[in-house]
Amino acid sequence: MLSEIERRELEDAVKHYPDKRGAAIDALLTIQRRRGWISDDTLFEIAQFLEITAEDLDSVATFYNLVFRKPVGRHVAFMCDSISCWIKGCEQVQEQIKKLYDVDLGQTTSDGRLTVLPIACLGQCERAPALLIDQDVYGNVTPEKIEQIVEKYK
């Protein structure tokens, strides 16, 4: 069931488009902000609101990188693995994350705290390597700085 707030947020989103289908991506991201990920049930509820089928919505949801159709941890860390970050050593940062939290790309820590995902260029190339955790961007990330950055995210 969509909560009152969620319903209102969806109604706000829909106002920006001449037809409800246009709000599909907005709707998915809006609800995902609250629920963390889009389960099959959530997908169905959003589809109903938009008056499209679950297939229609999932066809869109599964196309995009930022829509999670599997559960994620309490926080999602996106590691940029594009060229500038790669040159400046994002792989070492990744290895450090693996060492510290025992988690590979695409996985969630066993305590459900952190999901680590790759992401394409975050547009922080002059401060590579870069990391996006939830909505916070970090530049000039080194293996040494990782622990201090991730600590803030419980």
């Binding site: 037809d19 099959d40 089928t53 679950a54 297939e55 229609d56 999932d58 066809s59 599964t62 196309f63």
Partner: protein
């Protein structure tokens, strides 16, 4: 017309086409995947690349996709350009990167478009040496198998299923090289046209599951033209057999009727031919002792027993059938003499058919083919539930609603084949489609307006529309403001259209809706428009039987009851579907002798004193007349086993057996082969005079040869019966048609009915149809698409129908019981196919929620309902589209034989109600 230059040769082409279609039309082999003649171009697969040159001095040119290039005058391309060839071969190599190469175990092998295109591009060597992506398959129901690893991502399946057929539960998921085509979750594909996926998919991702259960390669099939017997539209099919089992039905292109597509009932309903309930031997009840069951009997004895009874009979009645061929009906009529021949349909149906024929024969408006329906730009449907009664027509209307918006597409100079651009330009706009009926289906989502009402009210709407359009047309008093508005909208849309179409049907039993439909069409005609009319009829040869004529069923019942006749011959008909059980029981029990000729066991065959096994459609030759009035030929595909024989042959033998000793044979007794049957049919009624033109006669030869039903690669001929004998018997001789049960014979251009399967060198898949057309998507060369038997001769309507029904009034204690057709469940023969049977829903009673409340019934509860003497257990569906005061009864096997429409006191008739069960 335009001229294009291909590899320095000039070709005349239609400049509205794209280069790929133009080249294919000229027999030039350009490979392709994502383009489809019925679905236009999207330019995704890149397989159709050719080199385009600016002019004759341009030496280098550039690669373009021929499917996305307009065939404008002066276009200069090369197919054989080395770079183009190399690129096309690379495209195959890319598609092979992830393809499992499982041809030996893939059902598509041997008729696979991917195989054909691979060979055509001459790509042979795979250099990719890494891992292939794999997918999990889904269980998609009894019709379709799913094998995603074979997918080449041409996107045809979702374009067909969603854009063409209106389906919603198949889609594409994911992206990059992990795209997946399937449902959100495993489950039966919901769309009634899902079966076409097996032909639309160029690889073995979607294959025919029923075929899989008795699989054989395409080249091993013996095949011939068949006409679908499961509704009145008469779609053309190709039936394929091997080793005495009918293996599958595929679409057979007919430019005027079904085009490239079938419905699922037609594609998967064929297993009645292989049913264990087939009657294979003659069965006789000795001494008319009806307490004992019949015993199998040798044919000569069975004939003799029957003939003896016929000779001694005090009057014979012959009951024809709307699902038997014209020739079979004519044979019976000849045997019993026309005055004793009765149309084996209930009186209401007979009346309605008669009205419909009169409308076509005396009115100025012609009937519409399915092709015409697709081209219509405004459609008004009165009372017929097309999705369930005549599905292929509903599919055509889904295309008709694209016509009106095309004006804007043309203005934007977007070519009509540029499918994605057309859809982006059109967005959600649709042409006018007005559906008036009494049950909502998903098809109604595509309507401009829907009107759910009882048949009389639907008729009143129709009369009102006619009144609004025409001059001097009767008008309708006391219309509500909403209906007045709707009338205006419909009238306006129809008058503005170039090709308006009016459709009604017989299922609701309403004479008034049929008359109203005629009035609308005639009013449009009077105003100088070019309307067409279409009536959905009950069965595959309802029109044929009506044209032939015959007595009323009740008169046949009377004749037996009054003792004027004592012998009955029933031709391919289950009378329990035609009249109330009590009446049929009395009829059959009173008759001294009951002779039944039919193919599958049913309640009437159980009453037979002499039961003769008739051949089904694929086992015999015959002619059906479809709802358009088009006579079409179906050919025997294989020789049936047992004593099975064509019905007309049984009747012919009976005729000979009962004719005077030494006297000359006349009538049906003189029929020796199918040509005789056809000639006799052509003289049986004036309307049938042109039956002989439908297909080549039995004596037709090409270069002195017959036409083989089997391919050149048909295998195992010499060993097929080696378990019985090592001798190879000569193939059976077919005296009835130009076809042979053989691999030998003429292999060249043929009149279309004689094509056994579509095949051409290098084109093993169904795409070979391209090679039979001069313009892809257009008529086959030498197409004989059947003969329209009725064309209007009048230049104007002689008068209007004036009986306007009163508005429907729900009453306190009576509900009008209306029949609800079910695409799976309402057709007698297809119900016998296990795959179809799996899809048949439980019988239900549909009520408006307010009626449900009045009757204190809950949605999904179960009731026992007594109707016409029988108790039926039904699920209750509360449906706001069921008109108040009516009740819908789903026509599934458990409830056939209920005569409708009928008034029922539901308060009394519902005897018990079970508590609501969990869903």
């Amino acid at each position: 017309m335009a001229t294009i230059i291909v590899d320095n040769k000039s070709y005349t082409v239609d400049e509205q086409q794209n280069v790929l279609a133009a080249c294919l039309g000229h027999g030039l082999n350009v490979p392709y995947f994502c383009w489809h003649p019925a679905m236009g171009s999207v330019g995704a697969c890149r397989q159709c690349a050719v080199k385009q040159f600016k002019d004759d001095r341009d030496q280098s040119g550039r690669l373009v996709m021929s499917c996305m290039t307009p065939a404008t005058n002066g276009t200069r391309i090369s197919i054989d350009d080395p770079e183009a060839k190399a690129f096309r071969a690379s495209v195959i190599e890319w598609l092979m990167v992830n393809h499992p190469h499982d041809c030996p175990v893939c059902d598509e092998g041997g008729e696979c478009h991917l195989q054909d295109m691979t060979v055509m591009t001459r790509h042979v060597y795979r250099r990719y040496r890494y891992q292939k992506r794999t997918h999990r398959n889904q269980a998609l129901g009894p019709f379709i198998r799913h094998e995603m690893n074979r997918c080449i991502q041409c996107y045809r399946c979702v374009r067909y299923y969603r854009d063409y057929a209106g389906g919603r539960d198949l889609n594409v998921f994911g992206s990059h090289d992990a795209v997946y085509f399937g449902r959100e979750q495993d489950g039966t594909l919901e769309n009634e046209f899902s079966g076409n996926l097996v032909e639309v998919c160029p690889t073995g991702v979607f294959t025919d599951k029923t075929f899989f259960h008795h699989y054989t390669r395409k080249w091993d099939l013996q095949a011939a033209q068949s006409i679908c017997p499961h509704c009145s539209l008469g779609c053309n099919t190709t039936a394929g057999e091997r080793s005495g089992t009918l293996r599958r039905i595929t679409n057979r292109f007919n430019s005027q009727v079904n085009g490239y597509f079938l419905c699922d009932r037609g594609r998967f309903g064929y297993e009645y031919v292989n049913s264990p309930h087939r009657i294979k031997r003659a069965v006789v009840r000795p001494d008319c002792d009806r307490t004992k069951p019949g015993q199998p009997e040798e044919v000569p004895q069975a004939i003799e027993i029957a003939a003896d009874r016929l000779r001694r009979a005090r009057g014979v009645v012959g009951l024809g059938s709307p699902r038997a061929s014209l020739e079979a009906n004519v044979a019976l009529r000849s045997l019993v003499d026309p005055q004793h021949f009765y149309q084996g349909v209930d009186e209401q149906e007979r009346q309605l058919l008669s009205t419909i024929l009169k409308i076509f024969q005396t009115g100025p408006v012609p009937s519409a083919s399915i092709h015409d329906a697709e081209q219509s730009d405004a459609v008004f449907v009165l009372g017929a539930d097309l999705l369930n009664e005549a599905p292929r027509l509903a599919l055509a209307l889904l295309q008709s609603i694209r016509q009106e918006p095309m004006e804007q597409v043309d203005e934007l100079k977007i070519p009509r084949w540029d499918e994605a651009a057309v859809r982006n330009a059109v967005q959600n706009r649709r042409g006018p489609l007005f559906l008036a009926g009494y049950q909502r289906t998903w098809f109604h989502e595509y309507a401009t307006d829907t009107y759910f009402a009882a048949p009389d009210d639907i008729a009143r709407l129709g009369f009102a529309v006619a009144g609004s359009i025409g001059q001097g047309t009767p008008s309708v008093p006391d219309l509500s403001p909403e209906v007045k508005d709707l009338t205006q909208r419909i009238a306006e849309a129809l008058t503005h259209a170039q090709r308006p179409l009016i459709i009604a049907g017989t299922k609701s039993g309403s004479q008034a809706t049929i008359e109203a439909a005629a009035n609308v069409a005639w009013a449009l005609h009077q105003q100088g428009k070019q309307p067409r009319l279409s009536f959905v009829l009950p069965e595959c040869n309802s029109a044929g039987l009506a044209l032939l004529g015959g007595g009323r069923l009740n008169d046949a019942f009377d004749a037996i009851r009054q003792g004027k006749a004592d012998t009955v011959i029933v031709l391919e008909n289950d009378l329990y579907r035609r009249a109330e059980a009590a009446n049929v029981d009395a009829f059959l029990e009173t008759a001294q002798t009951v002779v039944v000729i039919d193919s599958v066991e049913h309640r009437t065959t159980a009453h037979a004193d002499v039961l003769l096994p008739s051949a089904t459609g694929p086992e015999s030759d015959g002619t059906f007349v479809n709802q358009e009035g088009r006579a079409q030929r179906f050919y025997q595909v294989f020789v049936p086993d047992g004593d099975v024989k064509e019905s007309w042959r049984w009747l012919s033998e009976l005729g000979r057996a009962t004719s005077q000793e030494g006297g000359s044979e006349s009538g049906v007794a003189a029929w020796r082969n199918f040509d005789d049957a056809v000639s006799a049919t052509a003289t049986a009624a004036p309307a049938l005079a042109r039956i002989g033109e439908v297909a080549p006669s039995a004596s037709f030869r090409l270069v002195g040869q017959k036409v083989p039903r089997q391919s050149e690669r048909y295998s195992g001929r010499t060993s097929l019966i080696s378990h019985l004998t090592m001798h190879e018997p000569p193939p059976p001789v077919d005296h009835d048609s130009p076809l042979g049960f053989t691999m030998e014979g003429y292999r060249g251009p043929l009149p279309s009915p004689l094509i056994s399967q579509f095949w051409a060198p290098g084109w093993n898949s169904i795409q070979a149809v391209n090679t039979y057309q001069d313009e892809v998507g257009g008529p086959l060369r030498d197409e004989m698409p059947g003969v329209r038997l009725i064309e209007p001769v009048a230049t104007k309507a002689s008068g209007w129908f004036t009986t306007i029904p009163r508005a429907f009034q729900p009453t306190a204690h009576q509900w009008l019981l209306l029949p609800l057709s079910a695409v799976f469940g309402s057709d007698e023969l297809s119900n016998r196919s296990p795959a179809i049977a799996e899809r048949i829903g439980k019988p239900f009673l549909s009520l408006h929620p307010s009626d449900g409340a009045r009757l204190t019934l809950e949605d999904h509860s179960t009731v026992d309902l007594v109707l016409q003497g029988t108790t039926y257990r039904l699920v209750v569906h509360l449906d706001p589209s069921t008109p108040v005061g009516t009740a819908g009864l789903s026509l599934v096997p458990e409830v056939s034989g209920v005569s409708m429409p009928a008034w029922v006191d539901l308060l009394k008739a519902i005897q018990t109600e079970h508590k609501r069960r969990a869903a």
